[in-house]
Structures are given as structure tokens and as C-alpha cells.
Amino acid sequence: MSDCDLDEEYVALIAGCQPAVRGLLRALIRRAPDVDDVLQETNTVLWRRRQEYDRDRPFLPWACRIAQLQTLAFFKRVRNHGQSTVDEQTLEQIAAVATSRAVETHAHTAALMHCMEKLPLEHRQLVESRYCDAMPVIQIASQAGRSADAVSMTLYRIRKTLMECIQKRVAREAQ
């Protein structure tokens, strides 16, 4: 394969891992503007270090590891400004779980699809309003005549159900 082909393939790998890496950063950093900044730095590092990537190994864990290192660097910067951050051990634990889940959900998008199908209609519609229409929780709540906290907790339970369903299917497929 030519360098150009390899670069294209590599860019496709980076593009493909964006939701998972963003999820990892979100779990670690939380604030959306900071997440955007560190995601951008992670992408730059991924691109600069493309020659180091071993193509025989899965890309996503490599990308998550770089995101984790970029997060550490970010925490070091903001800690100097007095901002609170998670400690290194907690960061390791969150990153380990997030990477593992990211690999599962990335490789089993079909499982997610299946699990979504199993949701009751009203839950699917709620997910659609929140994620498809990008509607803020407060707006959904207002339209439904419910409190924002109640809608948030329903979404929380739906996400929990989805993750349990995905993990079950992934385990079944692995057997």
C-alpha cells in the first residue's frame, strides 16, 4: 500500500474512533469546552504519531491511551490554576472501563441497534428527541409536562438498560 493509502486509512481510523474517544474524555474531563480542546489535541497527537501505530493491533485502545495521556497533561495544566481534577488512580480506573466499553460498543454497533429495538416505544421516542433532534432535557420536560430531573433520570435508566443489553449480547456473541 502506498503512503497515501496508509494515510487515508489512518485518517479513517481516527475519524471512526471519535465518538468513543470523546466519550472517554467526557468521562474524565466533563466540561464540554475542555473536552473539545483535549479531543483536538488528541487528534493532533494521533496524527503526528501515525508512524508509531502498529497496524496489526486494534486502533481504538491505542487512541484511548493517547487520549488518556493528553488528559493527564491537561489536568497538570489546570491543576496549576486551582481547578479540581480526578486523581491519577481514579483516572486510570475510569479510562480502563471507558476503553473497554468503547471497544465493545464500537465493535458491536449492531448490538446497540438490536437493543434500541427492544426499548418500549415511549423510551425510543425519548431517546430520539434527546439525541436525534438534539433537544435539551429541559425542553423535552416542558413539552411532556414533567420535571427536567425526572426526564434526566428516565434517560439515565434507558442508557443503563441499553448498556446491560449490549453487554449481554456481546457476551453471547463471544461464546
Binding site: V11, P19, V97, M113, A134, S152
Partner: protein, 577 residues
């Protein structure tokens, strides 16, 4: 769980919701950090929430700036952006990455978001309003499946593998989970659908594409063929066009030839698009924004020959176009049976039969009793003018000759397939003599090894393949992991030797490949290919087969002979006694 932990879990759930609603205060952020540090057993719940949200979220999609030209930012353009430029121009970098992300995220998010109980009930835009309805009432069927490539369907009635030539009644809804499917409409229009896609065949002149990628060839008799999407209606005016529709309704329309009229849901008037124009309709730009025409993103539409052949109502064509019979010369095989195979091999086939067709033949060594599947229209057993040989390796008097692809037939041109008697679970070697006449740049053939023979739409493209591509011999696990070595010469016989192995793995993950090896070069392969994530995980090989590329010519001739599988390099490269 004790009541303290239960309280903490509830508090963590509420704080996680705040994170995901973008409403977390500084104090809550500090508290969240405390909880995660003090109760590490709750980290999993917290992280799971964030990850599911990340996959579901449409935030990235919604963040695309208005009017951005996604096409101009496709990944193929990316390598031209210098690293320095990325580092010094962060604004551009963000836009680029957000946009590159969109291309892939749309797929991910798309999977998650198509799910809507009333999905099929999405109202098309002014359906059939612009053109008079033809005469569907008298037609029982509106379309027919011509062929597929790696297609996985989800269909309660027909299953996941729909047979070529299946006819569909009006209103038939098809869900193509992955792969490619080609369909001819009774009006004469032909489409290629690329999954994941969902389509309803409404009438001979109308389809409702709710999601997926579609390209159409519309001959004159089918002018007015209409594709409805959730947000736009595309009315063909005699043309070739393509459209990509995502579950949120975003749609691209590319016109390759002729012209189409496009009617956005939100606009009062039609937009007329001419050849070489492409437009993106999105939430941000409901009236459409010009984008770059990219024919390469669409699979090949059905050929004119396919559409013509399917007019009869039967497909693939029932008329056999066999090779000329050479029965008299084939009697030599009776006295030469299997003499071209060496001893001590795992499996082998010398193609020596007292017949002209390989179909149903059960000879050879180490193969299943079920015999060969062979396409009788395109293969025959023949006695060539010269015996195929390379070095000291000499084949028997007969060879298997295969013709190239005929445009009236399905795009995936399988030629022979056979199961092995005993699956190959350990490392193995193979060798085969090949001779290709009519060689040009587009020609392709591959000998594949898989864990099942597959259906006619199975391309076996993600398993070990050895053969010819772009005028070079190649070995690959999938199209992204190919190794090439030297080119064949038109009309000359070559010996291909391969090694399929498991390197510190329970599945096959390494291919070694030799072209015309001299002496013992077992330690010096010409090509080494290692498996990466895109290829299928194979623990054992149950079947093998040969297919020829869709861009070969029917006048091309591929001859093969002396197919040998063994457990050592020597066993497959030694002459027969």
C-alpha cells in the same frame, strides 16, 4: 447495597445526568470527583452512562456549521493538509475534524437512530404528486433482485440471504443491513442499494428510501422514476444519479448523466439538477448546498445487459451459454487419473475427469463427497494444447478453464466451490498452477479459503485470498491488508504457493505467498500479510473456491490445475512420482 451506598448511587446518578445535560456546576463537579475517588465500585456505572451517551449523541452531527461542504472535507483530501498547518491553524483543524467525524459518526449515530416504531410511516414528500401514476394495478410485481455482494438482509419472510431473481410485490419493504444489492424495477429502472439501507418498493416507478445509499440507472422507458426520501423527492428525467440518505433525513443527490428534479419538503418549487451537479440537503440547509460530485462513493448500478436479461422475469439468465464440448479429447483423462498429484498431501485436485463439466464431480483427494459446485456456463474441463507445467511440476493432461464475467450475469462471478473432507484447523500450505489469457489492468481472480461455502452473494473477501489483481499477484485477508508481488505474463503458466498460518493465535492471522519459487524458499516468502481487525476470524477452513472479477471479459481465459494442499512447503512443491 446498604442505604449509604444507595444514597451515593442516587447522588452519582443525578450528577451524571448533570454532566450529560451540560448543567454541572463547579461544586457538583468537585462532589462528583469526591464520589468517584471514594467509591471506585461506582466508576463503572458512571463510565457506562457517558459511553452510551457518546454513541447515541447527535451533538457532533448537529454541530456542523451551516453550509459546510462535507464533500470537500472527505478523508481522501486529508493527507494534503500539512501537520504544521494543523498545528498553527486550530480553527480550521476543529472544523476539519468535526466534519471528518461527521462522515463516520453519521454511520454510528445512524444505526442508533433509525429506530422508530413508525419508521416506515415517514411521510414522503408530495409522493407521486409531480408525475402521473403509471399502471401499477395490473402489475403483480414491481421489482426483482438481480444480485448482491456480501449482502445481509433482515427479512421476516425471506431471511438474511435473498435469492437472485426473487420478485417483489408492490409495497415490499427491504432492510439491507450491510453489503450491496441490485434491483430491477418493472419499469426498467435499475438501482444498486448499499447497506445499511431501508427501502420500500412502492411501484414500478417509485421507491421510498428511508435510509441508505442508492444509485440508479433509468433508461428512457422508465423516465419519471421517483425516489422519495424523508425530506426530499427525486424525480428522474432520464439519467444516472445517486443519493445518500441518513436516518435524520439529510440527503445528498449526485447527478452523473441527464438531469433530475428535486423537491425539498420545505420548498415550494422543484430544483432542477443537471449532469455533474451534486447537492446536499440538511437540517442546516434545507434548500440544498452545492457539493462536489463523487461518483466513486456509489457502487456500480446494474448493467444494461443485466436489466435486459431480467426483462423475461427470470434471473440469472436461464439460457445456458456453455463452452464447446471437447469430449473426445477428454478420454485421455481416463488413463491419467490423479497422476499429477504428489503423495502425502492433505487435499488435492488434478481436474482429470472423463467429462467436460466439473459440476458435481467428486474426485480429488481430501475433499467432501458432495463434489464440486461449478458454474457450467463459464467453466469447462479441457485438454489444452500444452500441459500446464512450471519447473519440474507438471500437471495432468486436463485443466479447468474458466471464462471471465458476462455482463448479463450477477456481478459476483463465482466459478468453483468445494468443501473439504476434514477442516483445516492448523497451519497449511497450498500450491496451484495458473494461466491467464486476455490480461488487462482490471482483471481479477482469487482462490479463497473460508469456513463455509457461502451463498452466491458471498464474496469471501474478508478471508485468505490469493490471486491476481491490478496486473499483480496478491495475497490478502481483506481489501485493506493486501500484499502484492510481480505481475503475471499473459498466457504464461505460474506456480502460486501460499502458507496460511496462526502466529501466536487461535485463528489464522498470517499469509505467506510465493510466486514461481525456485528451490526451497520456505523461509523467504515474496509476500507476507498479517491479519488486522477488518478480516474475519477464522479458526478452521472448511471450503475453498475460485471467483473471477466483475471487470474481466467473457473472452478471458483462466486455466488452473494441480491444486494441492499440504502441511509443509515441500509437500506442495514436490513433483508427483
Amino acid at each position: 447495597m446498604n442505604s449509604l451506598n444507595e444514597d451515593i448511587s442516587k447522588e452519582l446518578a443525578a450528577l451524571t445526568c448533570r454532566v450529560l445535560d451540560h448543567s454541572l456546576t463547579n461544586e457538583e463537579d468537585v462532589r462528583l470527583t469526591e464520589i468517584l475517588s471514594e467509591y471506585p465500585e461506582l466508576i463503572e456505572d458512571y463510565t457506562n452512562q457517558i459511553q452510551v451517551d457518546a454513541v447515541l449523541t447527535a451533538e457532533l452531527y448537529a454541530a456542523v456549521p451551516e453550509g459546510i461542504d462535507l464533500e470537500a472535507l472527505e478523508i481522501t483530501d486529508y493527507p494534503t493538509v500539512a501537520t504544521e498547518e494543523l498545528a498553527t491553524d486550530p480553527g480550521r483543524f476543529v472544523s476539519l475534524w468535526q466534519s471528518v467525524t461527521v462522515v463516520s459518526v453519521v454511520l454510528l449515530v445512524g444505526f442508533a437512530l433509525w429506530l422508530n416504531a413508525g419508521w416506515w410511516d415517514v411521510k414522503p414528500v408530495n409522493q407521486r404528486a409531480a408525475i402521473p401514476e403509471p399502471v401499477p394495478v395490473a402489475l403483480q410485481y414491481v421489482g426483482m433482485l438481480l444480485d448482491t455482494e456480501d449482502a445481509v438482509w433482515e427479512d421476516e419472510e425471506l431471511g438474511d440471504d435473498i435469492a437472485y431473481g426473487t420478485r417483489f410485490a408492490a409495497g415490499k419493504k427491504l432492510w439491507l443491513k450491510s453489503g450491496i444489492g441490485r434491483i430491477r424495477f418493472e419499469s426498467g429502472a435499475g438501482i444498486v442499494l448499499e447497506g445499511p439501507a431501508q427501502i420500500e418498493l412502492c411501484s414500478p416507478l417509485n421507491a421510498k428510501l428511508n435510509y441508505g445509499k442508492l444509485a440508479a440507472y433509468v433508461p428512457d422507458e422508465a423516465q419519471g422514476f421517483t425516489v422519495d426520501t424523508p425530506k426530499i423527492q427525486i424525480v428522474d428525467q432520464g439519467t444516472r444519479f445517486g443519493t445518500v440518505v441518513d436516518p435524520l433525513g439529510k440527503a445528498e443527490v449526485h447527478v452523473f448523466e441527464g438531469e433530475v428534479d428535486v423537491k425539498p419538503q420545505s420548498a415550494a418549487k422543484m430544483l432542477n439538477l443537471k449532469a455533474s451537479q451534486a447537492v446536499l440537503f440538511s437540517r442546516q440547509n434545507e434548500l440544498g448546498a452545492a457539493i462536489r460530485l463523487t461518483p466513486a462513493k456509489f457502487a456500480d448500478v446494474p448493467t444494461l445487459e443485466q436489466l435486459t436479461a431480467a426483462k423475461s422475469g427470470f434471473y440469472p439468465p436461464v439460457e445456458a451459454i456453455p463452452f464447446d464440448s471437447e469430449e473426445p479429447r477428454n478420454v485421455y483423462a481416463l488413463i491419467q487419473m490423479q497422476t499429477a498429484l504428489p503423495k502425502g498431501i492433505l487435499a488435492g485436485e488434478a481436474f482429470e475427469y472423463p467429462a467436460t463439466s466439473l459440476s458435481g464431480q467428486t474426485g480429488g483427494v481430501g475433499f467432501s463427497h458432495e463434489g464440486w459446485w461449478a458454474d457450467a456456463n463459464f467453466t469447462r474441463l479441457v485438454v489444452p494444447e500444452q500441459i500446464m507445467e512450471w519447473g519440474e511440476l507438471e500437471a495432468g493432461p486436463m485443466v479447468l478453464q474458466s471464462r471471465g464475467h458476462h455482463h448479463a450475469y450477477p456481478a459476483l462471478a463465482h466459478r468453483i466451490i468445494r468443501k473439504l473432507e476434514t477442516p483445516l484447523a492448523d497451519d497449511f500450505y497450498f500450491s496451484i498452477l495458473v494461466n491467464y489469457e486476455g490480461l488487462d489492468e482490471n482483471d481479477f481472480f482469487a482462490l479463497w479459503f473460508d469456513d463455509s461455502p457461502g451463498g452466491k452473494g458471498a464474496s469471501h473477501s474478508r478471508v485468505p485470498n490469493f490471486g491476481l489483481k491490478e496486473k499483480q499477484f496478491f495475497a490478502r485477508f481483506d481489501v485493506n491488508q493486501e500484499g502484492f508481488f510481480s505481475g503475471p505474463v499473459d498466457g504464461e503458466t505460474f506456480l502460486l504457493v501460499g502458507h496460511v498460518s496462526k502466529e501466536d493465535s487461535s485463528s489464522f492471522n498470517r499469509l505467506d505467498f510465493w510466486v514461481n519459487p525456485v528451490d526451497d524458499r520456505s523461509g523467504q516468502p515474496d509476500v507476507v500479510v498479517k491479519r488486522a481487525t477488518g478480516a474475519k476470524l477464522l479458526n478452521s477452513i472448511h471450503s475453498l473456491g475460485l471467483r473471477i472479477g466483475q471487470y474481466t471479459e467473457v473472452t478471458d481465459s483462466l486455466c488452473i490445475d494441480r491444486l494441492v494442499i499440504g502441511d509443509s512447503y515441500e509437500s506442495v512443491t514436490q513433483p508427483s512420482e
